[in-house]
């Protein structure tokens, strides 16, 4: 169905055909990432969206996952940025709906234009996806999906993204009502006699 599922299938096939432990060790991080992605894709399959079709949601999720990748730590996928964007488009950023609808259609066209035999962004491998996104970097659609991905990664979780505060954790931010000094590494350097 999608690249996540097919990766999982490959992994299952790989285990069954008895690939060496060395191979597994070498590829373990990538496999874990693929597994995480597969889980995410499975979640998306079951999720309900207010604006996106399932197909659109998969594409948005994949684009977001390239904007803030899960390279050794949670990224846009784990933050469930796609849900943030979906909600944004039916609430405070309703006026961006057309930008997305048209942008996603153009994205699909671009896939077949650049990669013969492919029609879906999610079916491309990571390098191909990055290559494609670089060609649409200056479009309004990309700018908004970029901004929304960042917002969805770092906004309050109640907006649908930043699930389990993974975005805040990534940058070292914590949302608390009180702190006490010292706050940062250099605080102690203050001049004598001054707080």
């Amino acid at each position: 169905m999608d690249d996540g599922t097919s990766s999982r299938r490959q992994f299952v096939i790989g285990s069954a055909t008895g690939l060496s432990a060395v191979w597994l060790q070498l590829h373990w991080p990538a496999i874990l990432a693929a597994e995480a992605h597969a889980e995410q894709a499975a979640k998306l399959e079951q999720a309900t969206f207010g604006f996106f079709t399932k197909e659109q949601a998969l594409a948005v999720e994949a684009v977001a996952a390239q904007i803030i990748p899960s390279n050794g730590s949670p990224g846009a996928s784990e933050a469930q940025v796609v849900h943030f964007i979906d909600r944004a488009l039916i609430s405070f950023d309703r006026d961006k709906q057309k930008t997305y609808t048209q942008g996603l259609a153009a994205l699909q066209n671009k896939v077949s234009e650049l990669f013969a035999g492919f029609s879906r962004f999610v079916d491309l491998n990571s390098q191909q996806q990055i290559h494609l996104l670089a060609t649409i970097e200056s479009t309004e659609f990309f700018e908004w999906i970029r901004v929304h991905t960042i917002m969805g990664f770092l906004a309050k979780p109640s907006y649908g993204g930043n699930q389990n505060q993974v975005g805040w954790e990534a940058i070292g931010f914590e949302d608390r009502m009180t702190y006490a000094p010292p706050f940062g590494y250099y605080d102690g350097e203050s001049r004598k006699g001054q707080p």
Binding site: N71, D93, V147, I171, G172, F173, F183, G184
Partner: protein, 557 residues
């Protein structure tokens, strides 16, 4: 205790605008026994309405159109601005003017930087002489005349600071009521840089409580401060300070969601009330014996220009033709640096150290103007990811994410506040074509900074780069010097003075043309100081109220 006046009751004073100035004037007048109605176009929010929500409250700079801070400020989709550089251009839709649009006004979301003017600020024209191309003028008052009111503001509102810590501080009759806020890493790094360069950083005077004060809680260092309303009531906004006192008098009615479109005058040319829209956009008339306009340096001239009549064909209080002219804004420069260790600047207040070494103008620099520098972290998580990374950082992908993770807690901003010269050609006028959601003419900005203002920006940008070097920044960069495209400190458009030809209000904020009309806000400023105006706006408000009370008591209104 809540009082409600009927529209037909001619109250003693209507105060238009319940912000940093209006709330003080209203509280002083009501305390002195007068009946007061505050008409505020924005809502009456409370601490429970504020939250840690960057999307809802923070003004995210780029890209334009991103949802922003409209929960606390003017919403340009309802109240559009238009903007042009010079009068021969056609103004285009813009989001130039930003102001607090709620009870408490800009003091609800401000940083709390609470700088007094220096003595020189009141007489730069006579001290330094004319600046070609600018309408530099002396104020009709001196620092010494205003000093007791600075002290009153600091003690009544609650300001934290350390008197005498800056060798450039003007004289003061009393220390700050509260000790300074605990220093942050941004502050110690500014200290480090300044010390190396032989300059003098010092604890920032802040209108935020470092200790409990007058029944209010001290700052809990939650970090959602500038651009947010304080959930603890620790920021000394007029909402947290004088508004409750005004209400407690039982003589001050606060009427939010009331948008004044005209100050009305009678056949004798005296003000007799104001026409306003209520929350349902129903038009109402509130009678008053006197009106105090405290809308801010952009909306005040707009209201006066909208209040034209047969007797006042150029707009109310505008026989000088100067209403709306000499518009001054918060221009400045910004430099950023990254450091080895985490600063954790997302905690506590924005600013803990400032520096006034180059506050005065100095002819040796070859231009007119001066300013101050503060150290801060000008971002929250989203705005940082969009605007705060070093130039050249990829805008997406693995490198972008890595830079974000690396720099969020290691970035420091040096932000400068400086002279903005008054120019007669920089104006607030009524747009002839564009209307707001109430059908009123949109606010039209005509603005271009004086060449010396650009030189000041460059001068301070260079000093900031030196400071970042001296503080040990691993990497540093300066944001490009550019003219204002938006402004939050709105000054100068109804300047005060002794001459009826060369100013709009007298030294007591009474309109030269209308004896029972007063104008008290940033519009009264003759010069910009160094564009940290709130402290001076509020000191002026206490002083203006004092004189209004005396005048009213002797029947001279």
């Amino acid at each position: 205790m809540r009082v409600r006046y009927a529209d037909k009751t001619s109250v003693d004073f209507v105060v238009v605008g319940g912000g940093g100035a209006g709330a003080i004037v209203a509280k002083e007048l009501a305390t002195a026994g007068f009946q007061v109605v505050i008409l505020e176009q924005g809502p009456y929010l409370h601490e429970k309405d504020f939250e840690h929500d960057e999307l809802k409250f923070k003004d995210i700079w780029e890209p334009p159109g991103t949802i922003g801070q409209e929960a606390l400020t003017n919403d340009h989709s309802l109240q559009p601005n238009t903007y042009r550089k010079t009068a021969d251009e056609k103004a285009v839709p813009a989001t130039f003017v930003q102001y607090g649009r709620c009870i408490g006004g800009g003091t609800v979301h401000f940083t709390g930087n609470y700088w007094r003017f220096h003595e020189i600020d009141f007489h730069e024209r006579s001290h330094w002489g004319e600046v070609p191309g600018a309408a530099l003028a002396d104020w009709p008052i001196t620092y010494q005349e205003l000093e007791p009111y600075y002290t009153k503001a600091e003690w009544e509102l609650g300001v934290s600071g350390l008197a005498g810590a800056s060798p450039f501080d003007p004289p003061r009759s009393k220390p700050y009521p509260l000790p300074p806020m605990p220093v942050k890493s941004s502050g110690t790094l500014l200290d480090r840089g300044a010390r190396k360069l032989g300059w003098h950083s010092y604890p920032a005077p802040l209108a935020i409580l470092s200790q409990p004060y007058q029944g209010r809680a001290a700052c809990a260092h939650c970090g959602f401060c500038e651009q947010f309303g304080c959930e603890w009531g620790a920021k000394s906004s007029s909402l947290a300070t004088v508004i409750p006192l005004a209400e407690k008098t039982g003589r001050c009615e606060i009427r939010p969601n009331s948008y004044v479109r005209k100050v009305s005058t009678d056949v004798r040319g005296r003000v007799d009330g104001v026409i306003y829209f209520d929350a349902r956009r129903k038009e109402l008339f509130q009678r008053a014996k006197a009106v105090v306009v405290c809308c801010n340096g952009a909306e005040t001239p707009r209201l006066l220009l909208m209040s034209k009549s047969n007797l006042f064909p150029q707009g109310l209080a505008n026989s000088s033709g100067l209403v709306g002219k000499h518009f001054m804004v918060d221009i400045g420069s910004m430099c950023l640096g990254t450091f080895e260790q985490p600063l954790k600047e997302y905690k506590s207040v924005r600013v803990t150290r400032v520096m006034h070494d180059f506050y005065d103008s100095d002819p040796k620099r070859g231009f007119f103007g001066g300013g101050g520098i503060d150290a801060r972290f000008e971002f929250y998580p989203i705005s940082f990811a969009l605007n705060g990374l070093p130039p050249g950082t990829p805008r997406w992908g693995a490198e972008f994410k890595n830079a974000l993770m690396e720099n969020f807690n290691r970035t420091l901003t040096l932000f400068t506040h400086q002279t903005c010269l008054p120019l007669e050609s920089n104006t607030i006028t009524l747009d002839p074509d564009v209307k707001d959601a109430w059908g009123l003419p949109a606010l039209r900005v005509t603005y271009q900074s004086h060449p010396d203002d650009f030189r000041t920006m460059k001068f301070f940008s260079d000093r900031c780069m030196e400071l970042l070097d001296a503080a040990g920044a691993k990497k540093k960069w300066a944001l490009p010097i550019r003219d204002a495209t938006s402004a939050g400190h709105l000054l100068g458009t109804c300047r005060m003075g002794d001459s009826t030809q060369h100013s709009v209000v007298d030294k007591y904020h009474r309109a030269h043309d209308v004896r029972n009309l007063f104008i008290v806000d940033g519009s009264s400023f003759v010069t910009s100081g160094r564009n940290q105006p709130t402290c001076t706006i509020q000191a002026l408000a206490y002083r203006a109220a004092d004189h209004m009370i005396r005048a009213a008591k002797r029947g001279d209104i």
